[in-house]
């Protein structure tokens, strides 16, 4: 029984369809990526999973059971736009939020101290939120989301506004939660995070699922159309080879060549080896970024 199953949910606001028949299944210990341009229906989908709004059609099951009050306690939610009480002490409001999730005050306090220690900011315990920098508020918000050890985590733009060091810190924490068996629904605009973390993804456009499934499989579906080439000498005539669509010389040396199909790659390699010593030759698989722009962007224009 999967911890989270979203089955053909539809949500309409008036005559506008915000979400149109989306399905996804998330396993224990899995991070599921929910991608889409702004206004594609990510937040609506997440709100339906959170039980804030109810789907018009379809159903959402948690461990095979429909939504109930008890589910609330098992969910941790990090909203896209962060919110904490600015004038309340970190300890007060996090303990309050944890208690609303059913933790005892003592447990919540202990857990909070551990997390602050872990994030290297134990001195924030007695500070008011408005005294902290934006990035540090974000850390506190993240702790608020996970303090009660939720089994189902919903992270909306979890790493926005953080410096690279802190992104790594939180990413490591998310991975750890995943490895400990949490089920995580994850939304972001940063494709490299998705590639690093997610096993499966769904790409939404205008409320419709345009792409879904395992990341590996999706990438396999897209042709490899790019070659990275580096050599210790100059190579000319690349543009004239059959199947080559474009050549771009890179700042740091070497070339990036767009090709029509994977087979054209061999011709390029042969051509290059005839002229110089090749130090690097790679037929690149498409990045998620490219796939995203292709599926969402192209038809968009």
């Amino acid at each position: 029984m999967k911890p989270l199953v979203v089955d053909q949910v539809v949500k309409q606001y008036g005559d506008k369809t915000a979400v149109n028949g989306i399905s996804l299944e998330v396993d224990r210990g899995e991070i599921y990526g929910l991608l889409g341009a702004n206004g594609a229906g990510k937040t609506t989908t997440m709100r339906m999973v959170l039980g804030l709004i109810f789907p018009d059609e379809g159903k959402i099951l948690y461990d095979g059971k429909p939504y109930s009050k008890e589910q609330l306690r098992r969910i941790g939610y990090l909203p896209e736009e962060r919110g904490l009480y600015p004038k309340v002490k970190v300890s007060d409001q996090l303990v309050y939020l944890a208690r609303l999730k059913g933790m005892s005050a003592a447990d919540a306090d202990r857990s909070l101290k551990q997390w602050l220690e872990r994030f290297g900011v134990p001195e924030y315990y007695g500070k008011r939120v408005e005294e902290l920098s934006k990035g540090n508020q974000q850390k506190i918000q993240f702790i608020a989301t996970i303090i009660h050890q939720p089994q189902l985590l919903i992270l909306d733009e979890a790493f926005s506004g953080l410096d690279p060091v802190n992104v790594e810190l939180l990413k490591a924490t998310v991975k750890e939660l995943r490895d400990n068996g949490s089920t995580i629904l994850f939304s972001t605009h940063r494709m490299e995070h998705v590639e690093e973390l997610c096993r499966q993804i769904t790409i939404l456009r205008y409320g419709n699922e345009v792409l879904g499934g395992s990341l590996k499989e999706i990438k396999g579906r897209f042709p490899r159309e790019k070659v990275r080439l580096a050599a210790d000498g100059d190579i000319d005539g690349l543009e004239r080879l059959p199947g080559v669509l474009g050549v771009k010389a890179l700042e740091q040396g070497g070339w990036e060549i767009r090709i029509a199909d994977e087979a054209s790659g061999r011709g390029i390699l042969r051509h290059a080896m005839a002229q110089a010593e090749v130090s690097r030759f790679e037929i690149l698989e498409p990045t998620l970024n490219e796939i995203f722009i292709k599926t969402v962007g192209e038809t968009h224009e």
């Binding site: 606001y13 804030l52 709004i53 109810f54 009050k69 609330l72 969910i75 919110g83 999730k101």
Partner: protein, 438 residues
């Protein structure tokens, strides 16, 4: 229930620890203490022995004394005699003759000089009135709006006019001696002899005034705070986290109840401050002199006030919370709560303007209309006459409205907290409710 108590506790702790709460409470306690101690403080400055009666000068022309007709000097003398005959504690004016020559301009200059010297507080001038055959008086003083002195002088002149007919000393004494008129309020419907005495009426009047004011302030202030709390939670998006943890009903009523406890604590502090100040030995005398005795306060009024404070608070608070949930930014809040403020203000004015006419039909009807009844019922039971069943019925109507509006507010709240952007119209709200399946 646990969540409800949690929200209540959090709200209460944060508000009572806040600077705003502590500062306003201290300031109000200071003001209350000052007001209560004012009579005593004023009495300290009056200086002992000196009569508190106002000194009013009149031009006394030696030459006129001999004339047989009724001269201004003669009338002034009569007045002096009349005020002097009044019992000391009731005397508010004393006439002071100022030597004058009979020349109008010079006399006035002399009277003005007397004011400047501090010998008199004001003076009276008499001008013959051909129609009545007597004098018209002008009272001149440096004070603005000194109506009470003019009224005293008018009453005095009215009396002493009889001297023109020539009176024996006995007749004069009879004429000048004060007559005691008492006003007792009765309840004609029940025929009971539980009428309120004048001092009781005065106390009740003052108390109703104070309660209406307190009720209005408390409903307005706490309502505004509740609404702005909800809006802040919404605009800071903490609402999205909260609402996944606790049901909207619990979060709304938890907040309302928490604020209610804050308000109650504040009122308790004020009442305690009043009580302590009134019980000070120095104030007992000063207030007693003004005929204010706490024992005269009728407990019925206090109980009715408390009941209607409770119900009124919850009725308004739920609506304030609902309005707060519809607004996304704190800047827009003032405009959004305006209708509620006017509603509350309407009830307050109904109470205030009908203090003198507590048995009019308007008052009777509005005392059963939910948003006005907290104010108007306090008025009726304080200074008007009201039956127990009427209070009961009005309370019942209040409770039903709290239930209805609480339910409605909870629905609006549940929808409103997820609607961001511009304030939704009623139509949009209904549509959203349908969409959210609430």
């Amino acid at each position: 229930m646990n969540d409800f108590l949690n929200v209540t506790g959090f709200t209460f702790r944060n508000k009572t620890r806040g600077k705003a709460f502590i500062v306003t409470t201290i300031i109000l306690v200071a003001i209350l203490s000052l007001v209560i101690n004012l009579p005593y403080i004023i009495s300290l400055f009056k200086g002992e022995g000196g009569s508190s009666a106002k000194q009013v000068g009149y031009a006394s022309v030696q030459a006129e004394a001999a004339e047989s007709r009724v001269t201004p000097t003669l009338v002034g003398g009569w007045l002096e005699e009349y005020f002097a005959s009044q019992p000391e504690e009731a005397r508010s004016l004393a006439m002071v003759p100022i030597d004058a020559s009979g020349d109008a301009a010079a006399d006035e200059a002399a009277l003005k000089a007397a004011i400047a010297d501090g010998r008199i507080d004001g003076y009276i001038q008499l001008q013959p009135n051909a129609d009545t055959g007597f004098y018209d008086a002008v009272y001149k003083s440096e004070k603005m709006m000194d109506g009470s002195s003019a009224e005293e002088l008018r009453a005095g002149l009215q009396l002493v006019k009889a001297n023109a007919a020539g009176l024996t000393p006995e007749q004069k004494q009879l004429l000048y001696s004060p007559v005691d008129v008492k006003s007792v309020q009765i309840n004609a419907g029940t025929g009971e002899e539980d009428g309120r005495s004048a001092t009781q009426q005065g106390i009740n009047m003052g108390l109703v005034y104070a309660i209406l004011f307190l009720l209005f302030m408390s409903i307005m202030a706490t309502g505004q705070i509740i609404a702005s709390e909800v809006t802040t939670e919404k605009s800071s998006r903490i609402m999205e986290v909260l609402i996944t943890s606790v049901s909207p009903l619990n979060s709304m009523f938890g907040k309302i109840f928490g604020m209610f406890l804050v308000g109650l604590l504040q009122i308790a502090i004020y009442v305690l401050a009043v009580f302590v100040n009134v019980s000070l030995p120095t104030n007992k005398g000063a207030l007693g002199d003004m005929n204010i005795h706490l024992s005269e306060v009728s407990p019925d009024l206090l109980i009715v006030a408390l009941l209607f404070y409770l119900t009124g608070y919850f009725l308004y608070a739920t609506l304030y919370a609902a309005v707060g949930s519809l607004v996304s930014r704190t800047e827009d809040l003032g405009q959004a709560v305006m209708p509620l403020t006017f509603l509350s203000l309407g009830g307050f004015y109904l109470g205030m303007f009908n203090l003198a006419a507590p048995d009019s039909m308007l008052v009777k009807i509005t005392s059963f209309i939910p948003f006005f009844s907290p104010y108007v019922m306090v008025l009726r039971s304080g200074v008007g006459s009201v039956e127990y069943w009427e209070i009961g019925l009005s309370l019942l109507i209040m409770l039903v409205s709290i239930y209805v509006f609480g339910w409605l507010s909870a629905k609006i709240y549940r929808t409103g907290v997820l609607l961001y952007g511009k304030r939704p119209s009623f139509k949009e709200l209904r549509k959203a409710m349908k969409a959210y399946k609430i």
